[in-house]
């Protein structure tokens, strides 16, 4: 099972093992990792699963859709590394991916 490492804004690290195909949002929400809300249940409609993903992981992800781009405009402190966690599915190729959480979701 691929492993996802979440790092909170304060620097705390949580490792979570999930079935391939799980979105990063579900990985966080289902394992009680604080800092990702996912209010719209994964419909790319609320931007409360905003995360930062740095290289090398960022280049292994499918590119953002227009819908994801539009919604990231609503996020607090959007950066070039910003993504919506509900739009990224964990695969074996992403085993070990590091996901940084923002200061807050809204």
């Amino acid at each position: 099972m691929p492993r996802v490492t979440f790092i909170s804004f304060a620097g705390e690290r949580r490792d979570v093992d999930v079935a391939a195909g799980t979105t990063l949002m579900r990985a966080a929400v289902d394992h009680g990792v604080p800092g990702i809300d996912g209010d719209c249940a994964g419909h790319c409609a609320c931007a409360t699963c905003h995360v930062y993903i740095e290289p090398p992981w960022s280049s292994k992800l499918s590119p953002k859709s227009d819908a994801e781009d539009d919604m990231l405009g609503l996020a607090v402190d959007p950066r070039p590394t910003s993504r919506l966690a509900c739009q990224i599915r964990v695969t074996d190729a992403l085993d070990g991916i590091v996901v940084q959480l923002p200061e807050g979701q809204h």
Partner: protein
């Protein structure tokens, strides 16, 4: 519920379930005064989820009643426009000289630029800063409430607290804060639906006074260093500092209404919901940690804005129907929030739902309520301070509901706190 109001509900339900489908028209202000609209929305969800009505107030319009279809319309802003020049976000056809440009009623790219100027005020660090002040004021208001006598919760708690909050957001002179309540109510008044409303020219005159007051504040703030209140943010933000007086007025109305009667009506609605569901109140009192799931459930249950309107810009299909370019479309958040196919036990008020934030009251998509976490913060603090203070709050009479198919709210709720 009293016997007369139970009878009203029964009659409305019989009417809604047996009337000719083509005649169902949810945007009837009477249904909101009596709180019977739920039956009509349920009929549509069941028999005609994407339904065209002919309204005596609004003309022809589509009702979108299922959660999934509402999510579809809300997230396809390129097809379903919010733009004020097409009619904006309410079903009312506003005459051209009364239309107010505000970013809720704009499409990208202008919407995005103006919204981003506001977003910082509700960013996490700012919310953390506001929590102390909100709590201090909430305590003071609650400690000042009368005991052993009937009073109006709407006036003494809901309006008082939300007005204080709004005054804080604008750094508005506290002694004049009831002007904010007045202007919020003036903004949403509609003479066509409500005979007690101001005449249109009177309404615009009052909004003109609001603009004059806020222009004075703007002039003060623009010459001062940037601060973290909304006026300063608008006055200094690169996308907003050159806005026209009309745009400024429109965005003020947006922020005053958005931050005002929605939260106000959730504060009232939450108390009423707990009163109507004593087992849920008992559950909450036994476990105050449930406040975290209580708050979004209150917002779902109240659905402070019953619908949001869009205008189709191209033909498209929704739920098997073709909606044509130019058609008015109402996303009935109130209906989606009771859709059993999307939300388990949607018709019940439940304080410990597993996924309480899964509701439509803040909308979804690019227009999702920018103040949603601030609204939740205010409600959370309110209930954190109510529970240890008042073992009992009695609702001693029927609520008086606002005559509006848009703003789902209360003008009165008589309560009594023993002590």
């Amino acid at each position: 519920m009293t016997a007369p109001s139970a009878a009203v509900q029964r009659q409305a339900r019989e009417h809604a379930m047996s009337m000719p489908l083509a005649d169902v028209d949810p945007a009837n202000p009477e249904y909101f005064v009596n709180d019977t609209v739920g039956h009509y929305l349920e009929r549509l969800r069941r028999d005609d989820p994407v339904h065209k009505s002919e309204s005596p107030f609004f003309g022809p319009y589509w009702s979108i009643t299922r959660y999934a279809d509402i999510m579809h319309v809300d997230t396809h802003h390129d097809v379903f426009s919010s733009d004020w020049t097409r009619g904006g976000i309410t079903l009312t056809d506003v005459p051209a000289d009364e239309k107010l440009p505000m970013f809720i009623a704009m499409d990208p790219p202008l919407h995005d630029e103006q919204r981003k100027a506001i977003t910082p005020i509700v960013a996490p660090p700012n919310l953390a800063k506001m929590e102390g002040l909100i709590r201090e004021r909430t305590r003071r208001v609650l400690d000042g409430l009368p005991r052993n006598e009937t009073f109006d919760w709407v006036d003494k708690v809901s309006i008082e607290l939300t007005t204080l909050m709004l005054a804080t957001l604008f750094d508005f002179p506290l002694e004049d804060r009831r002007l904010l309540t007045w202007w919020s109510d003036v903004s949403t008044m509609n003479k066509k639906l409500n005979p007690d409303a101001l005449e249109p020219h009177e309404r615009m005159a009052e909004l003109g006074k609001m603009l004059a007051y806020f222009t004075r504040l703007w002039n003060e703030r623009v010459n001062a260093p940037p601060a973290s209140d909304l006026v300063s943010m608008l006055a200094h933000g690169p996308a907003t500092r050159r806005m026209s007086p009309q745009e400024y007025m429109g965005n003020l109305v947006l922020l005053i209404v958005g931050g005002n009667d929605t939260t106000r009506n959730s504060m009232t609605g939450g108390l009423l919901a707990l009163h109507d569901n004593p087992q849920q109140w008992a559950k909450l009192r036994a476990n105050p940690g449930l406040i975290e799931s209580l708050v979004p459930e209150i917002i779902r249950w109240q659905t402070p804005l019953a619908y949001m309107r869009r205008t189709a810009v191209v033909d498209s299909e929704v739920g098997g129907k073709v909606i044509r370019a130019g058609d008015k479309v109402a996303m009935w958040y109130l209906s989606g929030n009771r859709d059993e196919t999307a939300i388990d036990d949607a018709q019940r008020f439940i304080v410990d739902r597993p996924r309480p934030r899964q509701h439509l009251s803040f909308g979804f998509g690019i227009h999702r309520c920018v103040g949603n976490r601030l609204a939740e913060l205010q409600l959370r603090i309110l209930w954190e301070e109510i529970l240890p203070r008042f073992p009992v709050i009695e609702v001693v009479g029927e609520p008086v509901r606002v005559r509006s198919p848009f703003v789902r709210g209360f003008s009165q709720l008589p309560v009594r706190i023993p002590g």
